[in-house]
């Protein structure tokens, strides 16, 4: 009886000892040829790309001031300034209202045409201001390294907007589509650049018998209209709160 108990105890101790040996090994020996030679993307059951955003926009408001360059405007001054207010409905979308005020001058081309051919496009109806509703789709959120210790967060946006532009004679509708890039200096201050195609109804400034300095001054509502396509570059500073 006693003998059996000692035997049993010896077996138990041996098994316990063996079972722990594998766990106690702390060094792994791997053949060099089995080491990874290039980086690979691990696959996870539950892919969570962004665990905690530094820039949280959901539910917040954003105000911005911006300057626009109407890059392919032939006749009128190619700049305007604006103010915008956005409501971020979630981390992926935001809606905003934009108000623009157009510079009242003429483009460099118009000045040259006046100098060379005495064509005065001040006689044509000019844009004065505009109001648009803007929809932003925050397609990409990310960060980039500025130095070893500094990163900057970014948003790449898809943009759609619709609104009205007031000319000297009447108001005209327009839509825009484009892409925007936001660079965050902090979690609530960012610089934004938008590149848009502006498709809008507007008067044609080249009216026969109305633009030459010697022509009689035309009525601004007498100009025909058509759809114009203008490339726009916006640069703005934003505050998120």
């Amino acid at each position: 009886m006693m003998k059996f108990n000692y035997l049993l105890l010896a077996v138990v101790i041996s098994v316990l000892g063996l079972s722990t040996q594998g766990i106690a090994a702390s060094d792994l020996e791997l053949p060099i040829e089995e080491l990874a030679k290039e980086s690979v993307l691990p696959v996870f059951d539950r892919l969570e790309i962004v665990r905690a955003r530094k820039v949280k926009t959901a539910g917040k408001w954003e105000v911005s001031g911006n300057f626009s360059w109407l890059m392919s405007e032939p006749i009128f001054d190619t700049s305007r300034v604006g103010m915008s207010v956005y409501k971020h409905t979630d981390e992926e979308t935001s809606w905003g209202g934009q108000f623009f005020y157009y510079s009242s001058g003429l483009s460099e081309y118009s000045k040259q045409l006046k100098k060379q051919y005495r064509l005065d496009y001040n006689r044509a109806p000019k844009p004065q201001y505009g109001a648009f509703v803007d929809y932003n789709m925050k397609l990409f959120y990310g960060k980039m390294s500025l130095s070893k210790n500094t990163t900057m967060n970014t948003h790449l946006l898809g943009l759609l907007s619709a609104g009205m532009t007031q000319y000297e004679n009447q108001m005209y509708p327009g839509v825009t589509a484009g892409v925007g890039y936001k660079f965050y200096f902090s979690s609530n201050i960012s610089l934004r650049t938008d590149l848009r195609l502006f498709i809008h109804q507007a008067p044609i400034p080249f009216k026969q018998g109305a633009i030459l300095e010697t022509d009689p001054v035309p009525d601004k509502s007498s100009f025909k209209e058509r759809i114009h396509y203008t490339n726009l570059l916006d640069i703005g500073l934003n505050w998120l709160f």
Binding site: L35, S145, N149, T154
Partner: protein, 271 residues
């Protein structure tokens, strides 16, 4: 009788002990993982994205030294202890040093009010380092009069043959790539990118066949698709002198945007 009672107890004990060890080991391992994650995130606690979990992480040997972690050779990596030493081989997702880059893509001039100028750009570059590279660019353009030019000619009786437009443009650029990063597409996928700036000098052939000296500045972004392919967009702002509408000599500027695909070769030399 006692023996019969003792046997199940011993059996249960035998089964439980390794399990308990295993659980303890799991907990310990989870704690270690947490420690490692904490250690990794501690240098920039403000920083947020845990996307590192799903992607290769970047740092240089300089980073490793600065964080007080001893540097290891590749051979030493085969003798790692049990998760206390985690070796993450870190590099840019798309290495570029001593590799060529060939790019092709459609391009257009954004700021010409009189002509719709569209074409294609071909670029061939060589990266001396991850940051610096040189690149040759050739863009050929097709031109179509805009409604504004037709109306100006028809309604205001202006001869527009001397209006300047670009037929083609070539340059040699110095590329500087100081910024790299990553972004998530709708929180579903990680995309790696570089942002570069360039300075270039070349020539623009205009409508009358003259070739004008051209200075350019530009910027662009390269989104990695794999270690050999990338999507790239590029904006170049070109300046050249030519005769203006009022026949005086003046400086023209063209903003040319292009977007397309880049192919990197030869295959990256990883180690």
């Amino acid at each position: 009788m006692k023996k019969i009672l003792l046997m199940p107890f011993i059996l249960i004990l035998l089964m439980l002990v390794p399990q308990a060890r295993s659980q303890e080991s799991d907990v310990e391992e989870l704690n270690l993982i947490q420690l490692e994650l904490d250690k990794k995130s501690s240098p920039d606690t403000e920083d947020d994205e845990s996307s590192e979990a799903a992607a290769p992480v970047k740092s240089s040997s300089h980073d490793t030294k600065s964080q007080g972690v001893s540097e290891m050779t590749y051979e030493e990596l085969s003798r790692l202890s049990d998760f206390k030493q985690v070796s993450v081989i870190q590099r840019r997702y798309l290495p570029r040093t001593q590799r060529f880059q060939a790019f092709i893509g459609p391009s257009m001039t954004l700021n010409d009010p009189w002509f719709n100028v569209m074409g294609a750009s071909l670029k061939l570059g060589y990266n001396l380092t991850e940051t610096w590279g040189i690149e040759g660019n050739y863009s050929f353009m097709s031109t179509d009069k805009t409604n504004a030019l037709k109306e100006l000619s028809r309604e205001n009786n202006i001869t527009t043959e001397n209006f300047v437009y670009v037929k083609n443009y070539y340059s040699l650029n110095l590329n500087w790539t100081p910024l790299y990063g990553k972004m998530t597409w709708l929180n579903k996928k990680i995309v790696y990118y570089d942002i570069y700036f360039n300075l270039g000098f070349g020539a623009t052939e205009i409508q009358n066949g003259n070739k004008q000296d051209t200075f350019s500045i530009g910027t662009g972004q390269i989104f990695s698709i794999s270690k050999a392919y990338a999507f790239r967009w590029d904006i170049s702002w070109n300046f050249f002198d030519a005769k203006q509408v009022d026949t005086s000599q003046g400086t023209y500027n063209n903003v040319i945007i292009s977007a397309g695909f880049s192919f990197f070769f030869p295959e990256a030399n990883y180690r």
